[in-house]
Amino acid sequence: MKASTLFSITMAALLLAPPAARAAAAKPAGKAAPTAAAKPAPAASALSAVQGLAADDMPYDAGSEVLISWKAMPYDAPAVKYTVHLSSISRDGPWAQGAVFPSDTKYRADIDLPFWAWKKTKDRHAVALNLETAFGVDDEVGKKRLRGSVIYAKVVASDGTSEAASPAVSALATSDWFSLPKLNNFVFTLLFCCIVLWFISNARKKDLFMRRIPGLDAVEDAIGRATEMGRPIYFLTGRLDIDSISTIASSLILGEIAKRIAQYDTQLKVPHTYAMTMAVCQEITKQAYSEAGRPDAYREDINFFITEDQFAYTAAVNGMMVREKPAACFYMGYYYAESLLLTEVGASVGAIQIAGSDAEHQLPFFFITCDYTLIGEELYAAGAYLSRDPVLVGTLRGQDTGKAFVMLAIFAGVILATCGVLFGFEHGVQTFLEVFKSY
């Protein structure tokens, strides 16, 4: 091929090629071409040690992390990597590798903390390193040694061919006394507690309206039915121990139901899966019988322990149901796979069944097998509903106010987020929504 023809082809190709390729081709031979047209090439600014390197205690933690930060460098690009090294011995090492990442990632803005606790900027890289993970420490002695140690850190920038290490800096990780990111949670909880307490104090002065809960209205019918049939009533407190709030709620319902059962002189059976729950329920039942004016009808074996094993407990209760054919069964509290095993057997023996659970994944099983189901927070409202104690009823109004606030917040959030997308202020909306985020 002639030289002129070759020149023409090259020129034509250059004219048709994208601007980046044209620029690369225009460079004198022997010089590195840039990898991206928009981004300045790493080669254009040679690697140097990172500037403004600082090691600090990571705020709002238990003293298990250090925060390493430095200025964004002109050579930041995907091909250049930062390696953060840590040492707990001396400024000269030995070094443990804390993190490796491309130099155009991990800025202060990328740390998931809210705007009131953290300044989100893109002008500094920042990485929070867990000391136990970085040094591979998993024993108590090692953890204790790390706790009071000064931690040294250095950052090495590397593009695969050359490296630039920074001088070492030091920090001391300390424990903090308040988690500022959780301030929103703290304020909302405090506000909600105040609302509940205000309604409780207000309930003493005037009657509060209470919406009907059909499942709890049916309690009288269930007890009446058992009395007429001369069959026992079963009350189950769930699969969790007394340290669970749903078990506490179910034991409070037991107290109210036991009062009515004592008045009707019907047989009550409360099989337990935890001895501690049994002990608490024994006290509650005894008091309920006493308040109903029937302390003589109380028997110690109303509450009895079976076993902590899930399916052994289920088999035992199912066996008793089949043999004794209870007229009514109450399933209150938290349940797992045994929910359907219990309620289906209850349905097969013809018992009227009332369930109340905050285990949302078991609620469908209760819906299809039980006559009435208390959904979620109705379990917590049941004690107040049955007792009609004005003080307890006040909490229901507090709960409803809390729910109204959440509904309003969701509604406002949906409108804001939609407007943010439509009118291009998404960033502002995201910042505002941090107020409702959990940290």
């Binding site: 308040f178 909600f192 501690m276 079976i306 095993l341």
Partner: protein, 225 residues
């Protein structure tokens, strides 16, 4: 006496309840140690409470053996189980595999008796789901009709035959595939309902906790007076 039985538990409940609630906002190491220490206390108390449970089991079943009501033989079986279980546990030193690598009697009982029995109970779920579904899917109301419709969609989406039939009937005439419809139901309306329940549960739990910590609800210790 009233102080020890009523006032002291209320003070303990208020102090500990408040400290545990505050602990959530305090990341300090002391705060973490405090909660760890509390969990140790709970384990110790639960271990003591287990003896209460054992006494309860004994009382119920010894009573049955004395009175001999129908089904008293099960109580005999329970005592045999307890004695054999405890004896093999002691012989095997609580281990399922011995130092030589052989299965201990305790391990044999666990693997060949307890595990299959638990599996059997769990397997009953399959049959119970069918019988419960049969009752639930009787179209007696609009809600039951919706339940049935969604259930049929889910069943079809979860089995290859259902997907095959869907494609044979609709082909590519519909803009969505069956699995996409089911995923949408799971991720949008079902998840929204689940979250609604969860929000209510959380508020209810906080309100109940406030009542107990403030001493407004005292039924758990046997009443108000």
């Amino acid at each position: 006496m009233v102080f020890a039985k009523k006032t002291l538990p209320l003070i303990v409940c208020f102090v500990m309840g408040t400290l545990v609630a505050i602990q959530y906002y305090v990341p300090h190491r002391l705060s973490q140690s405090f909660i760890e220490e509390l969990s140790h206390w709970e384990i110790i108390i639960a271990a003591f409470a287990f003896f209460l449970g054992l006494v309860s089991v004994m009382q119920v079943h010894i009573g049955k053996l004395r009175r001999r009501p129908p089904g008293w033989g099960f109580s005999l079986f329970l005592f045999a189980g307890i004695i054999i279980g405890v004896a093999t546990g002691f012989i095997s030193r609580g281990k399922q595999i011995s130092e030589t690598g052989a299965m201990t009697p305790f391990g044999w009982m666990y693997n060949n008796m307890l595990n299959p029995l638990q599996g059997t109970m769990f397997c009953l779920l399959g049959f119970y789901i069918v019988s419960a579904a049969y009752r639930a899917f009787k179209v007696r109301s609009k809600e039951a009709a919706v339940l049935l419709m969604v259930a049929v969609l889910f069943i079809f989406a979860r089995v290859p035959l259902g997907q095959y039939l869907w494609e044979s009937v609709w082909g590519s005439t519909l803009p969505w595939q069956l699995h996409q419809i089911v995923e949408w139901i799971m991720n949008t309306p079902a998840k929204a309902a689940g979250r609604g329940i969860l929000i209510g549960v959380s508020l209810g739990a906080v309100a109940t906790s406030v009542k107990i910590i403030a001493g407004i609800e005292r039924q758990y210790m046997g009443g108000k007076d």
